[in-house]
Every structure is written in structure tokens, then in C-alpha cells.
């Protein structure tokens, strides 16, 4: 492997002004939140404008970056002296390189489309302004996360997106389920953040700095044990943010948020931050094979778990959430495979951003048409009444199952092939995951758009307005061509190399490799089986009981039950015990002691008010007397 390009200090030009990408949406959020009801009328337009402006700056930055030679494309823009402490000195700056700009384009591009879509989707919500404020806040925080040139800046963005996610999952606070889901997401993420914080501590005590351009080139100099510790700690953070095992449980509940939020935050962008963290910290992981191995295991376990959960969900958003977990599992697997994997991980991440956003927004369009119904058992036959949604969703669906030549085909196949070369067990498990994906995504697609209409009596589905369908169309174009554009001719691999290092050998694409053929065959079997069960046959209105395996999948592999038994219940007990102990134990002991010494009844509560005051005052004057006495004695 060749190392990545050196870092170049940069000032001026559009890159020098790249902080605008963060500042504009942040300003939008501030105006909308502080402006209050006065901004209700045009708030959504301001939100869209700020997001689009950020996208325009990002595109300009991208082209300016392309203007530099490949080895000149890691540019550090210093902003200001953020944290000048004793030993720790953090200067806040932005790192513009092929890796970060890929994310910036995805976030602002897909983000803007989702902003536009939300104008229609949230049109009748009284809190629409607040919604756009939070969306803008999210975009700003997410951009800080990927653009910061040091771990602390990343951490600030990291928790910032966590806040935005909390606010948006709980957007409908009056629903107890939404309020609970928001809290759960934040708390589970904080468990991960402990890991990220610990990783940063170890980075600092090892290298004396937390700036990427100083830590990463020096990483190989540290001991493997230290690097493994850093890697595992960062991975814990990544697991929280990216809903990977064992911190996956919050993502399914997060579907309580409005659907555009699920598309933007809980599918296309925020949940991929863990992949970004691992790839950005590449030199650390590459020198810590054990940490890398754990990354791949977590990835494979999650891609299977997510897929299995996806097979059993009747709630269209939860099924999609399971698939998000699963697809990020693929990315995580790739991120554990070194530089070849990095490019496939990020390419799949971008492709996924398009097709999953397209499908989530499509699901939103369906819900919009069906009185906010999410139960797929009450859908069916929607293809004929909402053609645009059907086609755009269908293209996203074909892309995710890896239909030949569509986006997911290129990127997922790259991950599977790379994993197969690296470790056949991981590779074959990833192939099986692809087969299950074929099944559960087809199930979802057929149950929603095909078969008999199982609508409620009062449902009158209709196609969504243009402000919602245009984003769908644009995203579906990305779902079709994005993957091929990135992968064919190793275009993205070459582009990313200056940031993450160039693999010794560029992967070459074999259209008829054994792995590829088996994968396609398994996917075909999955699709066919789903067609038999959910397309051709009648879908019962009430979910059949199913075997214990079905229950296992429906209950999210007992993730919540496990958390409840291991953490929540003991935590509640501990809390009760501590409160009891504090009231009776510590306080009682001290009160008792006071009673003993003072010779009073000890029940201070019962003492007459007037008496207490004089009692206290007498103590005080007694003390004053004592002061004088000691003072005299001390001087004798």
C-alpha cells in the first residue's frame, strides 16, 4: 500500500471559504429558532435556500480541489484558536480532501433534495418552521463532523448530529412513543460517544495532539496494543452512531420521526458517520489488525442481523431501517478491509445515500397518500395509482438488491469480492446477506405496490405533489447510475487514493466471477420466493404467528429485551437503592450523629420554627466565641 498524500496548508479561494458550508445552514437554524413565529411564513424557504447555498459552495470547493494535482488534494484550512489549554492545544480547522468532499457533496446534495421534499411533506404541520430549523442544524453539524481537521471538531459535530437526531425523532413530542424514542437514541449514542471520547484521550496521551494531519502520519509509530485500544474505542463510537451491533437498538425506534428525517439522518447521512470515522482513522486501524478484524466481524454480524430483522417487519419504515442497518454493515465490513475496502465502503455509502433516500422518501410519499399508514399489510396494488413513486421506489429497490448494472450491483459486489479475498468466511456470509436482501426488499416492494389492494375503507391514495416527486426522480437517477459511475474504471478508487492511500493492486472487475454469479443466483431465489409469498399469493391482514424464528426477527433479535434485562432493570434497581440509601443511610447517619452530639431528639423536622432559629443562632455565636478563644489560645 502506498501512503496517502501529504497535508497542505491552504488559505484563500473557495476552499478558504469552505467554512461557509457549515455557517450558512447554522445561520438558517439560528434565524428560524430565534425568530419564532415571525418566520413561520417563509421559514421553510429559508431552510431550503441555506441548504442549497451550502451545496453550491460545496460544488465550487469540489472543482477547486480537482484543480490541484492528486498529491496536493489534502488541504487544511485553519479557522481559529479553539482550545488553548495547558498541554492540549486545539486549533479548529477544516480538512478538505477527496474523502471529506465526497461526504460534503452527499450531505448537501441529498440534504437539499430532502429539504425540498419536506416543503410538501410537512406542508400541513404547524411546526414546519421548527422542522426546517432542526434540519439546517443537522446539516451544519454533519458538515462539521466530516470537515473538522481534528478529533475534537469531529466529536463536536458527532454529538451535534446526535442532538439534531434527538430533536427530529422527538419532533412530535406529544406522542409518548416519539419522546421515548428520541431519548433512547440519544442515550444509546452516548454509550458509543464514551468510546469515541476514550479513543480521543488515548490518541492525545499517545501523540500529544489530536489533529489529523499530525496523528495520522505518525500512527504507525505507536505500539500495536495502543493502536488496538484506540481502534476499538473508536469502533464503539462508530457502533453507536451507525447502529451497529451491539448498539443497534435505537435505530428502529428512531422511525418515530417524520419520514424525511428517516431518509436524511437515519439512512443517507448521519448513520454512516461511523464508517467515516473508521475510514478517516485508517492509518490507526491498518496498524492494528485485531481492531480491523473486530470491525469486519461487527460489520458482518450487523449486515446479517439487519437483514433478518428486515424480513419480519410489517411497518414499511422499520423494514427499511433494518435494511439500513444491514447496508451499513456492508460498509463497515469494507471499512475493516484496508484501502481497497475504503473506496468500496464510501462508494457503497454514496450509492446507498441515493437509493435509500429515494426509497424512504418513496415510503413517505406512500404514507402521505395513505393517511400516514405504515403497515404494509394495508397497502398493496399501489403501483397503478402512484406511478412516479412506484417507478422511483422500484429503481431504488433494484439498486439495493444488486440488480445488474444498477448502483448497488457495483458497490456491493466490490465489497463482497474484497471480503472474499480477505477472508472467505466473511465473504460467504456477506453473500448470504445479499440473498436475504433480495428477499426482504422484494417482500417490501411487492407488499406495497403489487398484489391485491388491502386499503382501509377511508384511504384514497393519490400521487404526491411535484415538490415531492421531483426529489424522488433525481434520487432515483442517482440510484441507477451512481454506482457504475463511481466503480467502473476505478474512478472513485483513484479519486479517493490521495486521502486514504492507494491499494497495492487496483481491483479489476470480473463480470462473471463465481462469487458474483452465486450472489446473483441467491438474490434471484430471494426475489422469486418473495414473489410467491407476497406478490402472487394473498397477504393476510393480520401477521401470521410464524415460527420462533419469525418471532425472533420480529422482536429485533431480542435486542431490546436484552438491553432491558442487562441494563434497564438493574439500573432501575440501582437507582432506587441509591435514592433509599441517600435518604436513610448517608443522611440518616449524619442526622443521627448530630442528634447524638447535640443531645436533641434528632428529628430536626419536628423542632418548632422559632426555636430552630434561635438554636442555630446560638450555635453561630457559640462558634464566634470559639473563634476568639482559639485565636487567643493559638497565640499563647
Amino acid at each position: 500500500m502506498e501512503t496517502a498524500a501529504d497535508f497542505v496548508q491552504h488559505s484563500g479561494g473557495v476552499i478558504g471559504a469552505s467554512w461557509l458550508t457549515i455557517a450558512l445552514p447554522l445561520l438558517g437554524a439560528a434565524i428560524l429558532l430565534l425568530g419564532g413565529r415571525r418566520t413561520d411564513r417563509w421559514g421553510h424557504l429559508l431552510g431550503v435556500a441555506m441548504s442549497l447555498a451550502s451545496f453550491v459552495v460545496a460544488v465550487l470547493v469540489f472543482f477547486e480541489l480537482l484543480g490541484f494535482g492528486a498529491d496536493q488534494r489534502r488541504r487544511v484550512v485553519e479557522l481559529y484558536d479553539f482550545l488553548p489549554s495547558g498541554s492540549l492545544h486545539v486549533e479548529m480547522g477544516l480538512l478538505l480532501d477527496p474523502l471529506s468532499i465526497s461526504f460534503v457533496l452527499l450531505i448537501t446534495g441529498v440534504g437539499s433534495l430532502i429539504h425540498i421534499y419536506s416543503i410538501g411533506y410537512m406542508a400541513h404541520d404547524p411546526g414546519r418552521r421548527r422542522f426546517f430549523a432542526y434540519l439546517n442544524l443537522f446539516v451544519a453539524a454533519m458538515l462539521l463532523l466530516v470537515l473538522a481537521d481534528n478529533y475534537l471538531g469531529l466529536y463536536i459535530g458527532w454529538e451535534g448530529v446526535g442532538l439534531a437526531s434527538y430533536l427530529l425523532i422527538g419532533f412530535w413530542q406529544h406522542k409518548p412513543s416519539a419522546a421515548a424514542a428520541a431519548k433512547k437514541a440519544f442515550i444509546v449514542n452516548r454509550v458509543g460517544d464514551m468510546g469515541l471520547a476514550l479513543g480521543i484521550f488515548v490518541v492525545f496521551t499517545t501523540f500529544g495532539t489530536i489533529a489529523f494531519n499530525q496523528v495520522l502520519p505518525a500512527a504507525h509509530g505507536a505500539s500495536e496494543g495502543t493502536l488496538t485500544l484506540i481502534g476499538l474505542a473508536l469502533l464503539l463510537g462508530a457502533c453507536g452512531k451507525s447502529a451497529q451491533l451491539p448498539l443497534q437498538s435505537w435505530l428502529l425506534d428512531a422511525m418515530e420521526g417524520p419520514t424525511p428525517v428517516s431518509a436524511l439522518i437515519h439512512a443517507a447521512t448521519m448513520v454512516t458517520a461511523g464508517v467515516y470515522l473508521v475510514v478517516r482513522s485508517g492509518p490507526i486501524f491498518e496498524a492494528a489488525p485485531t481492531a480491523q478484524l473486530v470491525v469486519t466481524i461487527v460489520g458482518v454480524a450487523t449486515l446479517l442481523a439487519g437483514a433478518i430483522i428486515g424480513t419480519a417487519k410489517d411497518d414499511i419504515k422499520k423494514a427499511l431501517a433494518g435494511s439500513t442497518m444491514s447496508q451499513i454493515g456492508y460498509m463497515m465490513l469494507a471499512a475493516g478491509l484496508g484501502p481497497v475496502g475504503y473506496a468500496f465502503a464510501i462508494a457503497h455509502l454514496i450509492a446507498h445515500g441515493f437509493f435509500k433516500a429515494s426509497m424512504f422518501l418513496g415510503a413517505g410519499s406512500v404514507m402521505h397518500a395513505m393517511n400516514d399508514e405504515v403497515d404494509m399489510r394495508k397497502f398493496g396494488g399501489l403501483a397503478s395509482v402512484m406511478k412516479i413513486t412506484w417507478i422511483t421506489f422500484g429503481l431504488g429497490y433494484l439498486a439495493i438488491i444488486g440488480f445488474p448494472l444498477l448502483s448497488g450491483y457495483w458497490t456491493k459486489d466490490g465489497i463482497i469480492e474484497t471480503a472474499m479475498e480477505h477472508n472467505p468466511i466473511l465473504g460467504w456470509l456477506a453473500v448470504i446477506g445479499a440473498g436475504i436482501t433480495g428477499f426482504y426488499m422484494s417482500r417490501l416492494f411487492f407488499m406495497t405496490f403489487h398484489g391485491r389492494r388491502r386499503w382501509d375503507a377511508d384511504a384514497h391514495p393519490h400521487e404526491s405533489p411535484a415538490v415531492m416527486t421531483w426529489p424522488l426522480i433525481i434520487l432515483s437517477i442517482g440510484s441507477v447510475f451512481g454506482g457504475g459511475f463511481l466503480i467502473v474504471g476505478n474512478r472513485f478508487m483513484e479519486f479517493l487514493a490521495p486521502a486514504v492511500g492507494r491499494p497495492e493492486e487496483m481491483p479489476s472487475f470480473h463480470p462473471f466471477s463465481l462469487t458474483g454469479l452465486v450472489t446473483l443466483a441467491l438474490v434471484a431465489v430471494g426475489v422469486a420466493y418473495a414473489w410467491m409469498r407476497y406478490g402472487r399469493s394473498e397477504v393476510p391482514a393480520v401477521a401470521p404467528r410464524g415460527s420462533f424464528l419469525t418471532t425472533f426477527a420480529r422482536r429485533d433479535l431480542y435486542g431490546d429485551a436484552l438491553n432491558e434485562a442487562l441494563f434497564m432493570r438493574p439500573g432501575q434497581w440501582l437507582t432506587r437503592l441509591a435514592v433509599f440509601f441517600d435518604n436513610r443511610g448517608v443522611d440518616g447517619l449524619v442526622n443521627g450523629l448530630a442528634a447524638l452530639v447535640g443531645g436533641t431528639s434528632g428529628r430536626l423536622r419536628r423542632i418548632q420554627t422559632g426555636y430552630v432559629r434561635s438554636y442555630a443562632l446560638s450555635i453561630f455565636f457559640g462558634a464566634a466565641l470559639l473563634v476568639g478563644a482559639w485565636f487567643v489560645v493559638g497565640n499563647l
Binding site: D6, F7, Q9, G36, Y80, F82, L83, P84, S85, G86, I156, W158, E159, L163, G170, Q173, H174, P176, A178, A179, A182, K183, F186, R190, V191, M194, A197, L198, I200, F201, F204, T206, F207, G208, Q214, P217, G221, A222, L574, T575, V579, D582, V586, D587, V590, A594, T609, V612, R613, A616, I619, F620, A623, L626, V627, W630, F631, V633, G634, N635
Partner: protein
């Protein structure tokens, strides 16, 4: 110009003036108090502007003999640490005055309205004095005298169990104070320098055993004040029964005298003993962090809940003080300031809620977000500052304390990290129960924040945000003082395992 004497004199004169306001003109008393406290704030800012960050450690120094025969002086001066704490106090006072506008009017109050406001000004003078005192005896006098106005503020204007709470507060504090008095006198006698001036007493006590005893005398007093686990049980009662404004001054400023005292006296006067007791104190700190947070989760009364969160936060501060690293020391100092703003905002907003609904029980609220969005929103921001969300100043201090502790003591820092998760639980669960869910019948008519209340909350949130993104002004003032403290203690310099010494690579184009 005797800046510090003026700063103390203005509120004292103001207090007398407020007390002299004729009966029946309460409004005038309030306006006068607000005016005086704003004058003190402006004067403090003017003084701070003249503080030379690279100058002598102690500035604006005034030394006058007080009781010459015993070497007691009226000696005041500030270094960076004292300066930011005085700034904290004088920023909070006008905010508290504005927030407490109607708090003393309640029929249950046992004393007149003007007395309450006069007490606040007296307390302000003493808060300035206690941070500025460089004479150990003078410090002790302020340390004890501060109890009096606070005792009356709780005991005469507090909630249903105010007498119990006020007496408990007083007894605990007096107990600590007596121990400290013994130590102060012993220090004077054993050092035999004939003076109480703190800078002249540095290094005066050489014998390790003597150091340990004297250290304990000071430390226990400060530990009760701070409060450090297990000396904390007076705080939830006092804070829950005190009027919201008094609770802010109590937890936000008065308790900081404890942690400030540890930094200024325990560490500097008895460095060897401080090192000896460090493992014990770090243990207590970590217990406090986790224990305070867990007990906070289990509270049903929001003011008690906030009080317990403070016990957890004070654990972070004492951990930072005794971690003996520049980052942790700076972090602990910043923590004292930021915690004042953060807890201040939480207590005051809780007070606004209680004034409206007449209950401090969490279960009596629900769905407030829907009826009073500004109140709920600001409450959330204050809560987020309590759980140290990045972007708010409390994060900077907590991060510095943790990373600085991690430099020297890995295990305590790692256990303390769990405080991050627990803080999210106690804050967000409280928010969910009070602000989320369906609107409860009893809060249906709850009014949102009025203009006065917005003026109370806005500056606190602004400070939290500004110092969250731009902590440099505070750090620049605090760093030299922390450095000098650590030099006095002979704390080792931090060196990374593989220092990246090179300048940032690839300078220039």
C-alpha cells in the same frame, strides 16, 4: 485604584440604601438592587479589561493591616482563577435579582421584600471578598460570614421545610468551618511567620504529618461546602427549599468557594499532603460523579434533581483539581464558571415553572412543550448544558477535566466517563416527563416566558453558547494561574508517549 474594595463597597452601600427604602415601595427596592448589581457588573468588566494576562500572578493587590498584633491583614488581589469566579458571581447576581422579582412577595415569606434584596447585595460583597482574599484569616471570615445572608434567604423565604433545610445547611457549614478555623490557627502558629498572608505562607509547613493534619482541616471544610460525597446531604434539602434565586447563588457560587479553596489553599499550602490524599480524593470524586448522577435519576422533585446533578458535577471539579495536570486544572476552573451558568439557568427555569404550576414535582407536569415552547426550549438548552453537550461551554470544561485526568489517572477518568451517559439519562428523562407527552390538564393554561423572564434566561444561554465555541478568552486568563498553582505543587509536566514534535506538516503551499 482599589478596584476590589470598590467592588465590595458598592454592593454594601447599595444594601444599606435598599434597607433604607421606606415601607411600601418594594418596587423601588428591587430596581435599586438591580441597578447596583449592574453597576458592580460594569465595574468588574472594567477591572477585568485591565487584567494583564502575562503580568504578575496577583493583580489589583491591596494590603492593609487589620489586626497587626496577629498578622491579620485586609489583603485582597486576584489571579486569573479568582477573577473568573468573581466575574461569575457578579454576572449571576443581576440575573438572579431579575428572576426573583416576585419571589419575596409571597405571603409565606417571613421577612420584608426589601430585606431579601438587601441580603442579595450583602452576599454579593462577600462573594467578591471570599475569592479576592489573599489573607487566610480574611478568607475564613468571609467563608463563615457568607452563611448568614444565605441562612436567612433560605430560612425566611424558602419552601415548606425551609427551617429544617436552613438549619441543616448552617450546621453542616459550621461544622466544616470550625475544623477550618482550627487549621487556620494552627497554620499561623506552626508556620510562625507572624502573618496570615497566603503567598508568604507557601512552603512554610514542611513536616509531612503536620501538613496532612492541616490539609484535612481545610479539606473537610471545603468538602462540606463543595459538597464532596459523602458530605453532600445538606445540599438537596437546601437547594430544594431555597427560593430559586438563592439556590442559584448557593449552588452556582457559594459552593465554588469549596472547590476554589481546595485549589488555592489545600494544593498550594500543603502540596505534599495534597499528593498523599490524591488517591482518596479522586475516589470520592468518582463516587460523587456516579452516585450523584444515579440518585439524580431517581428524583421526583425537579429542584432536588438539579441539586443532585450538581453533586455529580462537583465530582468532576474536585477530580480536575486533584488530577494535577494543566488541562484538568484549567478544566476544573472553567467547570466552576460554566456550571454556575448552566445550573443557574436550570434552577431559574425550574423556578419559573414552579411559580406557574405551584409544584416542584416532575409528575405534576407533562406536555409543556406544546403550551409553552419557549420555556420548554430554553429548559432543554439548559439541560443540554448540564449533560455537557458540545457547542455549549460546559462541554469544554468537562472534556478538559476528563482528558487532563486521563493524562495522570486512567481508571478514574474512564469511570467518570460513565457520567456522560448518566447525565443524558437524568436530563432527558426529566425533559421527556415534563415537556413531552400529551398536555396535562393542569398545565393547559401555563403561560410562556414573559419579557422579564426572557431577559433572565437569554444572557445565560448566550454565555453558554459563546464560551462553548470560543473558550479562549477564559482559558487565556485561567491558564497562567493554573500553571503557577501546579508549579507550587511541583506537578509533573505531561509528556505524550510518541510526541509529534514537528510543526504542522506541509506548511505553505
Amino acid at each position: 485604584m482599589p478596584w476590589l474594595s470598590i467592588l465590595m463597597g458598592v454592593p454594601v452601600v447599595g444594601a444599606l440604601a435598599v434597607a433604607a427604602v421606606p415601607k411600601g415601595s418594594d418596587k423601588l427596592a428591587k430596581q435599586l438592587t438591580l441597578g447596583v448589581s449592574l453597576v458592580v457588573l460594569v465595574l468588574t468588566l472594567a477591572m477585568a479589561a485591565q487584567f494583564d494576562r502575562s503580568g504578575a500572578r496577583y493583580q489589583f493587590s491591596e494590603v492593609h493591616d487589620w489586626i497587626p498584633s496577629f498578622g491579620v491583614h485586609y489583603a485582597v488581589a486576584v489571579d486569573g482563577i479568582a477573577l473568573v469566579l468573581i466575574a461569575l458571581a457578579v454576572v449571576l447576581v443581576p440575573i438572579v435579582v431579575l428572576a426573583s422579582w416576585h419571589d419575596a412577595d409571597r405571603p409565606e415569606a417571613k421577612r420584608s421584600v426589601k430585606t431579601y434584596f438587601a441580603l442579595i447585595l450583602v452576599l454579593e460583597a462577600m462573594m467578591i471578598g471570599v475569592f479576592a482574599a489573599t489573607d487566610v484569616f480574611l478568607f475564613y471570615v468571609f467563608f463563615e460570614a457568607m452563611l448568614i445572608p444565605m441562612y436567612f434567604m433560605i430560612g425566611s423565604y424558602g419552601g415548606a421545610q425551609r427551617s429544617y433545610a436552613a438549619v441543616k445547611f448552617l450546621l453542616y457549614s459550621l461544622f466544616g468551618g470550625l475544623l477550618m478555623l482550627v487549621a487556620v490557627i494552627a497554620l499561623y502558629a506552626i508556620a510562625a511567620k507572624g502573618t496570615f498572608l497566603q503567598p508568604e505562607l507557601l512552603g512554610a509547613i514542611k513536616d509531612p504529618t503536620t501538613q496532612k493534619w492541616l490539609f484535612l482541616g481545610f479539606f473537610i471544610a471545603f468538602a462540606v461546602k463543595a459538597p464532596v460525597w459523602p458530605f453532600h446531604t445538606w445540599l438537596p434539602d437546601a437547594a430544594a427549599q431555597a427560593p430559586a434565586g438563592a439556590a442559584v447563588l448557593l449552588v452556582g457560587v457559594l459552593d465554588k468557594v469549596g472547590t476554589y479553596g481546595m485549589l488555592r489553599f489545600c494544593l498550594e499550602l500543603f502540596p505534599d499532603a495534597a499528593k498523599f490524599f490524591t488517591p482518596l480524593i479522586l475516589t470520592l470524586s468518582v463516587i460523587g460523579i456516579v452516585y450523584g448522577a444515579i440518585v439524580a435519576i431517581g428524583q421526583t422533585d425537579m429542584k432536588r434533581l438539579i441539586a443532585y446533578t450538581s453533586i455529580s458535577h462537583f465530582g468532576f471539579i474536585t477530580m480536575g483539581v486533584f488530577a494535577m495536570s494543566a488541562d484538568a486544572g484549567a478544566g476544573a476552573t472553567l467547570y466552576m464558571v460554566n456550571h454556575g451558568f448552566s445550573t443557574g439557568a436550570l434552577f431559574l427555569l425550574a423556578g419559573f415553572l414552579i411559580n406557574r404550576r405551584g409544584s416542584q414535582y416532575i409528575a405534576d407536569y407533562g406536555g409543556v412543550q406544546k403550551v409553552a415552547p419557549v420555556l420548554a426550549g430554553t429548559f432543554l438548552v439548559a439541560g443540554l448544558s448540564s449533560l455537557s453537550l458540545p457547542g455549549l461551554s460546559t462541554f469544554v470544561s468537562e472534556f478538559l477535566v476528563l482528558i487532563g485526568t486521563f493524562e495522570n489517572y486512567v481508571v478514574p477518568a474512564v469511570i467518570a466517563l460513565s457520567g456522560m451517559v448518566l447525565a443524558a439519562v437524568y436530563i432527558l428523562w426529566m425533559y421527556q416527563r415534563m415537556m413531552g407527552g400529551p398536555v396535562q390538564e393542569s398545565v393547559k393554561a401555563l403561560p410562556d416566558l414573559n419579557l422579564r423572564e426572557k431577559f433572565v434566561v437569554a444572557p445565560l444561554i448566550a454565555l453558554l453558547v459563546v464560551f462553548g465555541f470560543f473558550p479562549k478568552p477564559l482559558l487565556d486568563v485561567v491558564n497562567p494561574a493554573v500553571h503557577q498553582t501546579l508549579t507550587t505543587v511541583h506537578a509533573p509536566q505531561f509528556t505524550p508517549a510518541i510526541p509529534v514534535t514537528a510543526e504542522k506538516k506541509g506548511a505553505g503551499q
